[in-house]
Symmetry: C2
Subunit: 105 residues, 2 copies
């Protein structure tokens, strides 16, 4: 395998997108609640700064996993929701979650 093939390997790309300290938790929240406001999401995370959470959300947005929706109310509201591409991950992440739960502590 050369470096180009390595970069394009599907498994490598998937894991690269999903890896990040808070990403599993962000995804769990969004699969549970459909659309979530930034502050709600932040409250569900233990010990994470708003700056770090924003960065992880931005990476997920760039990878077309979540969508940022601005609603021009007063005050304006920002929601996050999963993209169609991410929804296809549902059963896979569920299986990974169960596999992880079967591990010894």
């Amino acid at each position: 395998m050369n470096f180009e093939e390595f970069k394009n390997c599907g498994l490598r790309r998937s894991l690269d997108i999903l890896s990040g300290k808070w990403k599993p938790l962000i995804l769990s929240c969004l699969f549970e609640e459909d659309k979530v406001r930034f502050v709600e999401l932040w409250r569900q995370m233990p010990r994470v700064s708003k700056k770090v959470l924003s960065e992880q959300l931005k990476q997920l947005e760039e990878n077309d996993i979540i969508q940022r929706i601005e609603v021009y109310n007063f005050p304006p509201e920002v929601y996050y929701t999963l993209t169609d591409r991410a929804r296809k991950l549902g059963p896979i992440l569920n299986a990974l979650h169960n596999w992880g739960n079967d591990l010894n502590p």
Copy 2:
């Protein structure tokens, strides 16, 4: 969710185990070939030092994903193979691989 629950979240634990630059490729090789010698594995990786490869293998071994088998021939041989726990990941990693391949380049 408190920090203890976060640490024990199955999805977080799974992704934590699988995340690592060379781990997807190591797993792909081992799912293809059943048991592989260190040098064979190393030759299949592009641009990785033996030191880094050893470290990633050691982490996978500590997480009970791969098993290191020493055969006391002369010269002695070292093989790596997947554990039963890892084999259960087969269909999941396959689905992740396909999902990753469907992404735009």
